[in-house]
Amino acid sequence: MLFLRKVLFYIFLLLYVVICPLAILYAFGFILTPGQEESVVKTGLIYVSSAPSGAAIYLDAKDTTQKTPATLQQILPGKHTVLLTMKDYKPWVYSADVKANEPTVVDNILLIPYQWPISPLTDDAFSDLIPIPGNPYFLLKKGDFLKDYSVYNWKNGTLQPLIEEDSLYQGAKVLSYTTVENSSPILFRLKTKGAKPLFLLIDPSADKAVIEDITSLLSADPGRITWDPKDATQLFTLKGGNCNLVDVKNMAVYPKYLQGIRGLGLYQKQIYILKDDNRLFRMNFDKGGKEELLDDPDLGSSIFGDKGKLLILPMTKRIIMFITEDGELLSNHLPYVFVREGVLGTEFYPDDEYLLIWAKDRIGSLDFSVEEAEDVTFEKGPRLMWRYTGGKNINQCFWAYDGSSILFKDNEGVSLLERKAFKKSYLTQIVKVKPHSSAYYSEDSGALYYLDPSSGGRLYSVQILPQGRALIVTEQKDKKDPEEKQEKQEKQVKRK
């Protein structure tokens, strides 16, 4: 037994000494190619994932027998063609440039189905859809009065009026409304018989909407109103360089709370202000903890100059964007000015620090995650890449599928665009929406909500992300009869 033990011990020791380094080298992408010029070759790998998963993977026209998500290892450096196929989905092709010792990540590929799964959600027709991003609901409106507004909760598929039938605000006409991303209340500006409009802060998140009349706290024309999503009881109004603080909880107003302001932004319960002298500050709501973020008037002047009023959009503590009235996009990162004009909106994807930017005719992205190399003589800063330049009237954009794709609305068409510039960005039109209405995409449910033009404005949804991939599976109440559904799907196919 002792002899056997000793023999086995040395055998296993030898095995370890041999296997361990081989396994580690294999993990680093080295393979042995005996008989060739280089007996040890550095390889790369391709990581592929898709939604839905389970797509067959072909590499250079050969079946790898693997399905997504998968790691294809021991790939020799060079160009390789990756093809994904799956039943009921269009094939997806990509030309991968594999480098030695580096992974080529082809992840979050959203496979495009031959037929998008579309479901009607309401019997009623509406004139517009009002997104309230970051909430499990949005508004639908039929007319201009408050009684015409309804709340659709996509989590549980319920539709109910915004205010109760017996509410004294039923007959009020809506002049405008303000929403803040990730905040549940909506501020309505309503027409009254008097000169001063009515301001109602309505929070539909509870079973019964909570209505706060804050008319007494605001002037007839308070200017721009905003609040921090973490605290909707503290509103900030900005007009003519003066900022008022409106404390809804205590029904108090602090006029000229901040003065001499060109721009205002809120982030994580802090105020960002750009003063008239081009100095940028950050402070708490109570003005405590004041920090000067830009104390160089010359630099401030060169960046902000005579650009008038600005909208300050802090994306993170270190990334701050500014948009002028002309749509010029600026940042606290070099080269400071990114787009000269025309920017209509931005959407930040925090996980990858990617900023989506859109103008009327194009969509681009800024990557703030790339760190500048230390030996660079001229710092370039984040690179703006225009992903799509064929737009006509792009008015809405959404990140989809973990920031890998972009949904955008151009006039009445909603299309899907891949973010990563693979071979060439895949662009697919999905649906058409009712004219002059908005659409809404929720990453949680993976569905796009829109008003269908062919039915006069009924609310529909199209499942962009496969059901298993969406965070929340919602009940889709299919109220349509099978014939109508078939007709609808045929129309969708024809449009493509």
């Binding site: 037994m1 056997l4 361990c20 680093f28 790998l45 290892q73 992974p103």
Partner: protein, 545 residues
Amino acid sequence: MKFHYSRHGLRGRARSLERLFEIMPGAMSWSILIGMSILAVKRPLIAAVVMIAFYIYWLLKLIYMNIFLVISYLRLSVEEQTDWIAQAKGVKHLDSYLKEIKSKKPVKSFKRFISHFAHYQEVVDLKKSNAAIPSLEDIYQLIIMPVVSEAQDIIEPGIESFFKGHFPAKRILVVMALEERASEEAKKGVYAVQKRYKEKFLDFLVVVHPNGLHGEARVKGANATYAGREAARYLKRKGIPFENVISSCFDADTVVSPNYFSCVSYYYIITPDREHASFQPIPVYHNNIWQAPGFARVLDIGSSFFQLIESTNPEKLVTFSSHSMSFKALVDIDYWPVDMISDDSAIYWKALIHYDSHYRVVPMYVTLSMDVTEAENWWKTAVNVYKQKRRWAWGAENLPIVFRAFLKLKGISKLKKISLGFKLLEGHLAWSTWSFLLTIIGWLPAIFATKKYSESIFYYSAPRIAGMIFTLASVGLVVCILLSLLLLPKKKVKHNILKRVVHAFEWLLVPVISVFFSALPALDAQTRLMLGKYMEFWVTVKKRK
């Protein structure tokens, strides 16, 4: 070598060394765990490489151990049919016996062939040693059974098993080592058992160990030592030479197999240097195996497996739990330590040091059964199991004493010191860290992957390699499941098949069980030792339904 096997009463350099070595296992364990965690956060690529190297080492060790587990189990099953008495008697006339077994016809059964071959080798080794061979008729068994709170229904089955075996009960001296502080119920139970079974044995003594003797801690070893001294006086009075006595110190719940004493007698006779040897059986936990919760069952079967594996390496085998040894050796080394909890392993180290490394443990392929730790409900059982495993892990208290002794001991080669010391240290480190590395820390590099690491090939290939390793390791788990089913008691119980199927699935909980009921108590014990928070003896609650 004269060496005071205790951490008490040390001064100067000895005290400093003792503390240094007490701190060592805990400090090393924590360094490994914290160090790997920090490495996983700060340098996830390096941590991932280290983890892959560790996984491969662990897999190979698992396969290596599984090979010996199977071999050991086969040997155990082979020896189930062995007539130890006949073999022990035959050895008395060594030359003729040797001829007889050499000329015996080849056995058809492979099992019998193995047994025959092993026996033949043992007889040859005895012949070569020219050692005196005692007669089986001259061998006596001394059983010392410490009792502190165990009820009669726990003790009695063990007593019954002593006289129901193949070894003549009239040559067995039973000594119940009863603590003065024992409960009245326990005391009643012991005296009742004495009354009932006294006539069956050579004698049945009850030795009451007084409380608070100077220099003693409240440990089982102190109780056993007091009883051992009384037993020595008794044997002297009876004129029984210590060389002819095999002493066994059994837990109160120990039930021996029918051929235990005949087996230990055989090994005592066949071992050339028998007075410098302990005899280690394979402990199983069958007394209440079906009543105990699954996780406790899996743990104790794992202990049996560990002993099966260790028995294949007698050069480094250390005594564990209930076992036997030469009574002469026990007297020579002045019995068990009276201030240490881990008396079962300490006795081996004490003897090894006393005899200048001229001492060994002989593995015996025979079982004795004990209770799986159990309590009124699942939670209390979990607490009891945790405490028991912590007490077992407190065996790390031997490490500083052994290391100090090795620094002084001249009669042992440096290589052997390093080998034994390394095994002792490595065993405790593996016990307290491996489960954490495998189940928790191994995943940290992926969780805390920096951008740089997540953009490396290793980030993608490491999980694949780890997956392959764990898949291969699951083969080892299947082996364990099969062996555990084979090792289960043959006695028919209600829902036998169902119980066995459920038991097989219980092994899937090993990753969780090993963290909370093996690694964590071990880390707890080492940390207490490191901080100087010495543990009082906590008697494992034994309860049968």
